[in-house]
Structure formats: structure tokens, C-alpha cells
Amino acid sequence: MSFVSLLWVLLLGSLLGLELIGKVPPTLHTPLMSGANAISGITMLAALTLIVKAEGNVPLLIIGSVSLGFALFNVVGGFFVTDRMLAMFSRKPSNKK
């Protein structure tokens, strides 16, 4: 990928993010923050790339592995905790009309 096309990707991704959440009810601020936070753990892909390309370089493998651990801690924990919060809103069948 050329640098310029990556910049385009950055620009369009940012615009998409700006558009995605217009009106959020305050109820959902905390879950939304926590869910978006889990998505930011997408750096796990970069950590994976690092490990795969390390080619037997042990220090790099360790750095990659630790990085992967941190990212997955963010992702798994983030999604679980968001689900726990949101489960409370939808548990009772009476709350929807």
C-alpha cells in the first residue's frame, strides 16, 4: 500500500467515526465508551504481525507476545464488561414496548 492511499484510509476512517455517533442517549455513554475502547485493542493485529515476522528473534517474539497480551486484555475484557453492562438493560422483557 502506498503511503498516500494509507492517508486516504485514515481520512475516511476518521470521517466515518465522526458520523457514526450523532445522538447518543446518556444512558449509553458508559457502554459505548467501553465498547469503543475494546475495539481500540485492534492493535492486537499489529502485535500478531510482529510475532509472525520475528523470524526466530526471541526478544522481538517476547515484545510481540507481551503486546498481544496487553491488547487482548483490552479486547476481551472490554467486550465482556460492555456485555455485562448492556445485559442489565435488556434482562427484563417488560422494558421494551
Binding site: I51, G64, S65
Partner: protein, 479 residues
């Protein structure tokens, strides 16, 4: 293009689409839970896409698999355990911790690439390309480090492990932070000039900058800071995407970064604070203790739980105003028992939720939902405010600044302009509170002095338990 490339391309595209739909769905109550799962699915899909690509092209060495498995099992395990165990009241600090770890991950990736350049990518040395590489590594380290240390400080402050040191409230802090910022810039240029060792300087000073920027910020503003740091971790991820040349990372990171920024702005609006004053204004209480130490309470009426129960029994309409104090006392379940009794007696009960009730917008809704309070009894501020004049009793539980009439009446007050609940319009207001201490803002609450306000002193949970006993004696809720 060969097959693995095409497959990865399709999977990445699908993952981006699903992530976007996920974020979108998370902003609506009805779809939020499914949206969260959709996003989680998209993330797993992206991992499958990446691994299958490498399997199909260069292959993955056994050694790499071992380290992948170690890292993922440990990370996922600790994440899952923490997510299951942590009490709902400490949600803000948990989000901060997760967020910090995301930033740490981006930092480590950039550091790894900087110290051990990935082989294969550079057939012939290209100055422009290596410049871009160095810039993206620096950005990833800089933002990642700030996210990490900032989030950890935010967490420690919310947990009460760290207080706000005095010097951070003086002008000195701006000087200190400017020094850190300039030092990061120097390290950055030194790095581009080819001095690789200055990367450590960059790591250290940007970490310090993260601490220096977060430390002065007071408790009430912390949610805004966490939301902003969340946005940063997205930016760090996007920068890491430039480092390893991944479009998916750039899109997802940019999306989270931009969405986080919008969310931060929405939160600021709810608290009537500007982002600039949150970031550079220091703690609100430190500003205001000097200016509005004006006035002691002159007309405090305190009353017993029994009187409170008698008034409640005679009421037709009751509004509950829950605040963070309720959450700290873990009294939401006890409160639910009280309101059940009142409802059984035909009394209308509604919960008035200020946008920043609890410690994070939406935090209180989560806590009350945990205690089985029906969703339709939770009313947002704009909906409930016109109802107060027709309300017999308002119970304020551990809320303070959000019911302070100063915000409407006193233009010299630091709270002035903040949207508040007009509880003073109700016939009787009971404020259940431990003592006369001030709220987050450290500002005197004029509500407590009003003739229709009575204070019930005590721990929220204990008072509510006593209230249940009194209501029982009165025969409320028993048929």
C-alpha cells in the same frame, strides 16, 4: 493478486463494515447488546483473516505460534476474569485500565519495530519511506505512552490510590508539562536524524507527559479524561497501523479515535464544561474553594427516618434522585426495596437521572438496572424537570452538585449554567447524606438551606434499611 491476498482483502472489508455497524448500534438502547457482540465477532474475524493470510503466504513458524498462544491466553484470561469480577460501581476505573493496556500494546509494537526492524520489507532503501516509518513509530510511541500512563493515573485517582498533589494546582504544572512536551519533540527529531537510542528518551518523556497532564484533573472531570484517552488509544492504534502497514488497523483506529472525540464532546456538554477547561483548568474544587467559601449553612433542618417515612406514606408522587453516594454505599438494591413498597401502596415512583449522575454518564442507569429497576421508571433530566412542581416528595440520595439551585440562580457560582434537576420545586425534599461535606465541586449547596428541604443524616444504605422498617411499621406495602 493471489488467493490469500484476495481472501484477506475481503475479510478485512467485512470486518471494517461490521465494526462500523457495531459502533453505530452501540449508540441505540435496543440494538446495543447485539452491536457489541457484532463488534467482538468482527475483531475475531480480523484475526482469522490475518492468520490465514500468513499461513497462505509466508507460513507461521512453530516458535511464533507458541508466543502467540502464550500472549493471547494470558491476556484474554486476565481480561475475562477482571471483566467478570469487577463490581459495577468501579466501571470507570476498569474502562481506564483496559484502555491503558491498549495504549501499551501500540507502544510495544512500535518499540519492537524500532529496535528490530522487520526484515523483508526494505529491499532498497527509500528515504521517504523510512521517514514515514520513523514518524509513525514516534507517533505510536508518543500517543501510546500518554494513553498508558494517563489511564493508569486516572484509574488510581478514581480508586482513591492517588490524590491530587498540591503543586499540580499551581501554574508550575504548565511549565513542567511544556518541558516534557518539548523534550518529546527533541527526541522525535533526534530519532528522525537517525539517532535510534533517543527512542528511549521519547518513551520516558511521553510517559511523564501522560502523568503530568492527568494528575491535576479532579475527580468530577475524570470521565471526560477517560473518554479522551479512549480516543487517544484509537489514534495510537491507527499509528501502529502505519507502522505495520495495515489498512484495517488504520480504519478501526481512526474510527475509534474520531468517535471517542465526539463522545468526549457530548460528555463535556452534559457537564457544562469545555474540553479546554477540563484539560488545563485543573481541579474544579481547587479553583472554587477560594471564591465561594462564602457562606455557612444557616437554615438546616434535619429530621428522623420516621418523619421521612410518614411523609412518604402520605405522598402520591415520589421522585428519587440517585447520585454517586448511593453507588458507593452499594444501596441500589435496598433503594429498590423501598420503592417497591411505595409502589405497592399506589404511590407513583420515578427516578430522575442527571446526565452525569454517578461518576460517568450512564453509570447510574447501569447501577439501577443491576438492581432490577424497570427501565421506563428512569427519566432523563429534561423529561423529569417539568414534573417537580407536581411532586410531593423528592428523595435525594448521595447526589449533590446536580441538585444545586446555584447553577440556575447565582451567576457568580462556578456551577452557574450547569444543567441541574429542579428538585426545590417539589413540596418536600429529603436529602439523605452522611454529613454536611460538599460535593465533588466543593461548593455549598443552597438546596440544603431551603425551608422545604430536610436532611436525613446517615449512610445511604443504613437510612434506607431503617426506612424499610418504618414503612413496615406503618403498614405500607403490605396487603
Amino acid at each position: 493478486m493471489n488467493l490469500p491476498v484476495i481472501i484477506k482483502f475481503v475479510i478485512d472489508l467485512l470486518a471494517v463494515l461490521l465494526l462500523a455497524l457495531g459502533i453505530k448500534g452501540l449508540s441505540k438502547v435496543k440494538s446495543a447488546r447485539d452491536a457489541n457482540r457484532l463488534a467482538a465477532f468482527a475483531m475475531s474475524l480480523s484475526v482469522v483473516g490475518l492468520l490465514s493470510y500468513y499461513l497462505g503466504t509466508s507460513g507461521i513458524a512453530i516458535q511464533s505460534w507458541i508466543w502467540i498462544i502464550i500472549g493471547s491466553i494470558l491476556g484474554s484470561l486476565f481480561g475475562a476474569i477482571l471483566a467478570k469480577k469487577v463490581p459495577m460501581t468501579s466501571m470507570p476505573e476498569t474502562v481506564a485500565l483496559f484502555n491503558g493496556c491498549g495504549g501499551m500494546s501500540s507502544l510495544l509494537v512500535a518499540l519492537g519495530v524500532a529496535i528490530f526492524p522487520i526484515s523483508g520489507g526494505q529491499e532498497n532503501f527509500d528515504f521517504f519511506k523510512s521517514l514515514i516509518n520513523e514518524v509513525s513509530i514516534s507517533v505510536s510511541i508518543f500517543v501510546g505512552a500518554i494513553t498508558f500512563t494517563g489511564s493508569i493515573v486516572a484509574m488510581a485517582k478514581l480508586q482513591g490510590w492517588l490524590s491530587t498533589p498540591g503543586w499540580t494546582q499551581s501554574k508550575v504544572r504548565h511549565f513542567v508539562n511544556i518541558v516534557f512536551a518539548v523534550a518529546s519533540l527533541i527526541a522525535f527529531f533526534d530519532l528522525i536524524n537517525g539517532n535510534t537510542s533517543s527512542i528511549w528518551l521519547l518513551v520516558i518523556v511521553s510517559s511523564l507527559l501522560g502523568i503530568g497532564v492527568t494528575l491535576p484533573i479532579g475527580g468530577a472531570d475524570m470521565p471526560v479524561v477517560i473518554s479522551l484517552l479512549n480516543s487517544y488509544s484509537g489514534i495510537a492504534a491507527a499509528a501502529a497501523g502505519f507502522v505495520v502497514d495495515s489498512q484495517l488497523l488504520i480504519v478501526a483506529g481512526a474510527m475509534v479515535g474520531a468517535a471517542g472525540l465526539i463522545l468526549t464532546q457530548v460528555m463535556c456538554k452534559g457537564m457544562n464544561r469545555s474540553l479546554v477547561s477540563v484539560l488545563f483548568g485543573g481541579s474544579l474544587s481547587a479553583q472554587s474553594t477560594a471564591s465561594s467559601g462564602s457562606g455557612e449553612y444557616t437554615n438546616i433542618t434535619s429530621c428522623s427516618v420516621e418523619e421521612c417515612a410518614l411523609t412518604l406514606e402520605a405522598a402520591n408522587k415520589v421522585i428519587i434522585v440517585p447520585g454517586y453516594g448511593l453507588a458507593v454505599a452499594q444501596a441500589q438494591h435496598t433503594l429498590r426495596e423501598v420503592t417497591k413498597k411505595l409502589e405497592q401502596n399506589g404511590i407513583e415512583v420515578v427516578y430522575a437521572i442527571h446526565p452525569v449522575a454517578g461518576r460517568m454518564p450512564g453509570h447510574m442507569n447501569v447501577l439501577l438496572a443491576e438492581a432490577d429497576v424497570p427501565y421506563e421508571q428512569l427519566k432523563e433530566m429534561d423529561v423529569v424537570n417539568p414534573d417537580f412542581p407536581a411532586t410531593d416528595v423528592v428523595l435525594v440520595l448521595g447526589a449533590n452538585d446536580v441538585v444545586n439551585p446555584q447553577a440556575k440562580n447565582d451567576s457568580s457560582s462556578p456551577l452557574y449554567g450547569m444543567p441541574v434537576l429542579d428538585v426545590q420545586e417539589a413540596r418536600t425534599v429529603f436529602v439523605i447524606k452522611r454529613g454536611m461535606s460538599a460535593g465533588y465541586s466543593g461548593i455549598k449547596n443552597d438546596l440544603f438551606d431551603l425551608p422545604n428541604t430536610s436532611m436525613v443524616f446517615g449512610d445511604a444504605k443504613k437510612v434506607l434499611n431503617d426506612l424499610i422498617g418504618e414503612l413496615k411499621d406503618l403498614g405500607v406495602g403490605e396487603k
